[in-house]
Symmetry: C2
Subunit: 111 residues, 2 copies
Protein backbone atom coordinates (compact mmCIF):
# COMPACT_ATOMS: atom_id res chain seq x y z
CA UNK A 1 0.00 0.00 0.00
CA UNK A 2 1.28 3.46 -0.84
CA UNK A 3 1.96 5.88 1.98
CA UNK A 4 -1.23 7.82 2.77
CA UNK A 5 0.74 11.05 3.20
CA UNK A 6 2.24 10.71 -0.26
CA UNK A 7 -1.14 10.20 -1.86
CA UNK A 8 -2.58 13.09 0.12
CA UNK A 9 0.22 15.44 -0.87
CA UNK A 10 -0.32 14.70 -4.58
CA UNK A 11 -4.08 15.11 -4.21
CA UNK A 12 -3.52 18.45 -2.47
CA UNK A 13 -1.20 19.54 -5.26
CA UNK A 14 -3.76 18.56 -7.86
CA UNK A 15 -6.54 20.38 -6.06
CA UNK A 16 -4.59 23.57 -5.47
CA UNK A 17 -4.37 24.58 -9.10
CA UNK A 18 -7.93 23.63 -9.87
CA UNK A 19 -9.28 25.47 -6.86
CA UNK A 20 -8.11 28.86 -8.14
CA UNK A 21 -9.92 28.15 -11.38
CA UNK A 22 -13.07 27.11 -9.50
CA UNK A 23 -12.99 30.27 -7.36
CA UNK A 24 -12.42 32.59 -10.32
CA UNK A 25 -15.15 30.78 -12.23
CA UNK A 26 -17.66 31.07 -9.39
CA UNK A 27 -17.15 34.73 -8.54
CA UNK A 28 -18.92 36.13 -11.57
CA UNK A 29 -21.68 36.20 -8.97
CA UNK A 30 -20.50 37.99 -5.79
CA UNK A 31 -20.27 35.71 -2.79
CA UNK A 32 -19.17 36.16 0.80
CA UNK A 33 -16.69 33.58 2.01
CA UNK A 34 -19.02 31.08 3.59
CA UNK A 35 -21.53 31.22 0.73
CA UNK A 36 -18.72 30.56 -1.74
CA UNK A 37 -17.57 27.62 0.35
CA UNK A 38 -21.06 26.17 0.11
CA UNK A 39 -21.34 26.87 -3.63
CA UNK A 40 -18.04 25.12 -4.27
CA UNK A 41 -18.99 22.16 -2.12
CA UNK A 42 -22.35 21.84 -3.88
CA UNK A 43 -20.48 21.78 -7.15
CA UNK A 44 -18.35 18.93 -5.89
CA UNK A 45 -15.21 20.86 -4.89
CA UNK A 46 -14.15 19.34 -1.62
CA UNK A 47 -12.59 22.29 0.18
CA UNK A 48 -12.24 23.62 3.71
CA UNK A 49 -12.70 27.14 5.05
CA UNK A 50 -9.10 27.35 6.21
CA UNK A 51 -7.96 26.74 2.63
CA UNK A 52 -10.51 28.96 0.92
CA UNK A 53 -10.37 32.08 3.11
CA UNK A 54 -6.61 32.68 2.83
CA UNK A 55 -6.89 32.08 -0.93
CA UNK A 56 -9.61 34.74 -1.22
CA UNK A 57 -7.43 37.24 0.65
CA UNK A 58 -4.47 36.40 -1.55
CA UNK A 59 -6.48 36.74 -4.77
CA UNK A 60 -7.80 40.10 -3.58
CA UNK A 61 -4.32 41.31 -2.73
CA UNK A 62 -3.21 40.31 -6.22
CA UNK A 63 -6.17 42.27 -7.57
CA UNK A 64 -7.84 39.30 -9.23
CA UNK A 65 -10.80 39.81 -6.91
CA UNK A 66 -12.47 42.91 -5.58
CA UNK A 67 -14.50 43.04 -2.40
CA UNK A 68 -17.35 45.07 -1.08
CA UNK A 69 -18.91 45.16 2.38
CA UNK A 70 -22.62 44.66 2.66
CA UNK A 71 -23.66 46.44 5.85
CA UNK A 72 -27.42 46.36 5.29
CA UNK A 73 -27.77 43.19 7.35
CA UNK A 74 -27.18 43.04 11.10
CA UNK A 75 -23.97 41.17 10.40
CA UNK A 76 -21.75 42.94 7.84
CA UNK A 77 -20.44 40.64 5.15
CA UNK A 78 -17.57 40.98 2.75
CA UNK A 79 -18.62 40.07 -0.77
CA UNK A 80 -15.95 39.04 -3.24
CA UNK A 81 -16.27 39.18 -7.01
CA UNK A 82 -13.90 38.77 -9.92
CA UNK A 83 -12.09 41.88 -11.25
CA UNK A 84 -11.27 42.60 -14.89
CA UNK A 85 -7.71 41.50 -14.18
CA UNK A 86 -9.12 38.34 -12.63
CA UNK A 87 -11.12 37.70 -15.77
CA UNK A 88 -7.97 37.93 -17.90
CA UNK A 89 -6.17 35.49 -15.62
CA UNK A 90 -9.16 33.18 -15.59
CA UNK A 91 -9.27 33.08 -19.39
CA UNK A 92 -5.59 32.17 -19.59
CA UNK A 93 -5.79 29.59 -16.83
CA UNK A 94 -8.87 28.04 -18.37
CA UNK A 95 -7.09 27.67 -21.71
CA UNK A 96 -4.18 25.93 -19.98
CA UNK A 97 -6.58 23.72 -18.10
CA UNK A 98 -8.33 22.68 -21.30
CA UNK A 99 -5.00 21.86 -22.96
CA UNK A 100 -3.89 19.74 -20.02
CA UNK A 101 -7.25 18.06 -19.82
CA UNK A 102 -6.91 17.08 -23.47
CA UNK A 103 -3.39 15.73 -22.89
CA UNK A 104 -4.44 13.70 -19.89
CA UNK A 105 -7.47 12.26 -21.63
CA UNK A 106 -5.16 11.27 -24.46
CA UNK A 107 -2.72 9.60 -22.09
CA UNK A 108 -5.37 7.79 -20.09
CA UNK A 109 -7.50 6.53 -22.94
CA UNK A 110 -4.55 5.13 -24.87
CA UNK A 111 -3.92 2.43 -22.31
CA UNK B 1 -3.18 43.81 -17.48
CA UNK B 2 -2.55 41.22 -14.79
CA UNK B 3 0.98 40.73 -13.58
CA UNK B 4 2.72 38.13 -15.77
CA UNK B 5 4.38 36.55 -12.73
CA UNK B 6 1.04 36.04 -11.05
CA UNK B 7 -0.42 34.34 -14.10
CA UNK B 8 2.69 32.22 -14.48
CA UNK B 9 2.63 31.11 -10.86
CA UNK B 10 -0.98 29.95 -11.15
CA UNK B 11 -0.26 28.17 -14.42
CA UNK B 12 2.71 26.42 -12.77
CA UNK B 13 0.52 25.40 -9.85
CA UNK B 14 -2.09 24.03 -12.21
CA UNK B 15 0.48 22.10 -14.21
CA UNK B 16 2.26 20.62 -11.23
CA UNK B 17 -0.60 18.42 -10.11
CA UNK B 18 -1.47 17.34 -13.63
CA UNK B 19 2.11 16.51 -14.48
CA UNK B 20 2.35 13.76 -11.88
CA UNK B 21 -0.76 12.23 -13.36
CA UNK B 22 0.67 12.48 -16.86
CA UNK B 23 3.94 10.85 -15.80
CA UNK B 24 2.23 8.01 -13.93
CA UNK B 25 -0.10 7.52 -16.88
CA UNK B 26 2.72 7.37 -19.40
CA UNK B 27 5.02 5.00 -17.55
CA UNK B 28 3.00 1.88 -18.15
CA UNK B 29 5.52 1.69 -20.96
CA UNK B 30 9.09 2.06 -19.60
CA UNK B 31 10.82 5.24 -20.73
CA UNK B 32 14.18 6.81 -20.05
CA UNK B 33 14.03 10.46 -19.04
CA UNK B 34 14.53 12.11 -22.40
CA UNK B 35 12.15 9.75 -24.19
CA UNK B 36 9.46 10.48 -21.60
CA UNK B 37 10.02 14.18 -22.07
CA UNK B 38 9.39 13.75 -25.77
CA UNK B 39 6.35 11.54 -25.24
CA UNK B 40 4.83 14.10 -22.88
CA UNK B 41 5.55 16.96 -25.26
CA UNK B 42 4.03 15.06 -28.17
CA UNK B 43 0.92 14.56 -26.07
CA UNK B 44 0.71 18.29 -25.47
CA UNK B 45 2.26 18.49 -22.00
CA UNK B 46 4.49 21.50 -22.11
CA UNK B 47 7.29 20.55 -19.75
CA UNK B 48 11.03 21.07 -19.36
CA UNK B 49 13.76 18.61 -18.51
CA UNK B 50 14.68 20.44 -15.32
CA UNK B 51 11.13 19.95 -14.07
CA UNK B 52 10.70 16.37 -15.22
CA UNK B 53 13.99 14.82 -14.12
CA UNK B 54 13.78 15.83 -10.43
CA UNK B 55 10.16 14.65 -10.43
CA UNK B 56 11.20 11.23 -11.74
CA UNK B 57 13.82 10.93 -9.01
CA UNK B 58 11.29 11.95 -6.36
CA UNK B 59 8.67 9.50 -7.62
CA UNK B 60 11.24 6.73 -7.58
CA UNK B 61 12.32 7.60 -4.05
CA UNK B 62 8.67 7.44 -3.00
CA UNK B 63 8.48 4.03 -4.68
CA UNK B 64 5.82 5.04 -7.18
CA UNK B 65 8.31 4.30 -9.94
CA UNK B 66 10.93 1.64 -10.37
CA UNK B 67 13.96 1.96 -12.56
CA UNK B 68 16.20 -0.34 -14.49
CA UNK B 69 19.46 0.33 -16.32
CA UNK B 70 19.71 -0.74 -19.90
CA UNK B 71 23.39 -1.30 -20.57
CA UNK B 72 23.07 -3.08 -23.90
CA UNK B 73 23.60 0.17 -25.80
CA UNK B 74 26.87 2.08 -25.85
CA UNK B 75 25.24 4.68 -23.64
CA UNK B 76 23.57 3.15 -20.55
CA UNK B 77 20.09 4.45 -19.94
CA UNK B 78 17.91 4.42 -16.87
CA UNK B 79 14.41 3.25 -17.71
CA UNK B 80 11.57 4.21 -15.41
CA UNK B 81 8.26 2.42 -15.11
CA UNK B 82 5.33 2.57 -12.75
CA UNK B 83 5.36 0.30 -9.67
CA UNK B 84 2.34 -1.41 -8.14
CA UNK B 85 2.29 1.30 -5.47
CA UNK B 86 2.42 3.86 -8.25
CA UNK B 87 -0.57 2.23 -9.90
CA UNK B 88 -2.59 2.51 -6.67
CA UNK B 89 -1.66 6.18 -6.36
CA UNK B 90 -2.45 6.77 -10.01
CA UNK B 91 -5.92 5.26 -9.64
CA UNK B 92 -6.71 7.47 -6.66
CA UNK B 93 -5.31 10.60 -8.29
CA UNK B 94 -7.17 9.91 -11.50
CA UNK B 95 -10.45 9.58 -9.58
CA UNK B 96 -9.81 12.94 -7.90
CA UNK B 97 -8.93 14.47 -11.23
CA UNK B 98 -12.16 13.24 -12.80
CA UNK B 99 -14.20 14.65 -9.92
CA UNK B 100 -12.52 18.03 -10.19
CA UNK B 101 -12.88 18.03 -13.92
CA UNK B 102 -16.61 17.45 -13.54
CA UNK B 103 -16.87 20.28 -10.99
CA UNK B 104 -14.97 22.71 -13.18
CA UNK B 105 -16.98 21.85 -16.27
CA UNK B 106 -20.11 22.48 -14.20
CA UNK B 107 -18.82 25.85 -13.01
CA UNK B 108 -17.64 26.99 -16.43
CA UNK B 109 -20.63 25.91 -18.46
CA UNK B 110 -23.15 27.51 -16.11
CA UNK B 111 -22.04 31.02 -17.00
Amino acid sequence: MPDKDIIQSYITELKRGNLVLAVLGSLTTPHYGYALLQTLQERGMDIEANTLYPLLRRLEKQELLVSDWDTTESRPRKYYSISDTGKDVRTKLFEEWKDMQKSLIGIYTEE
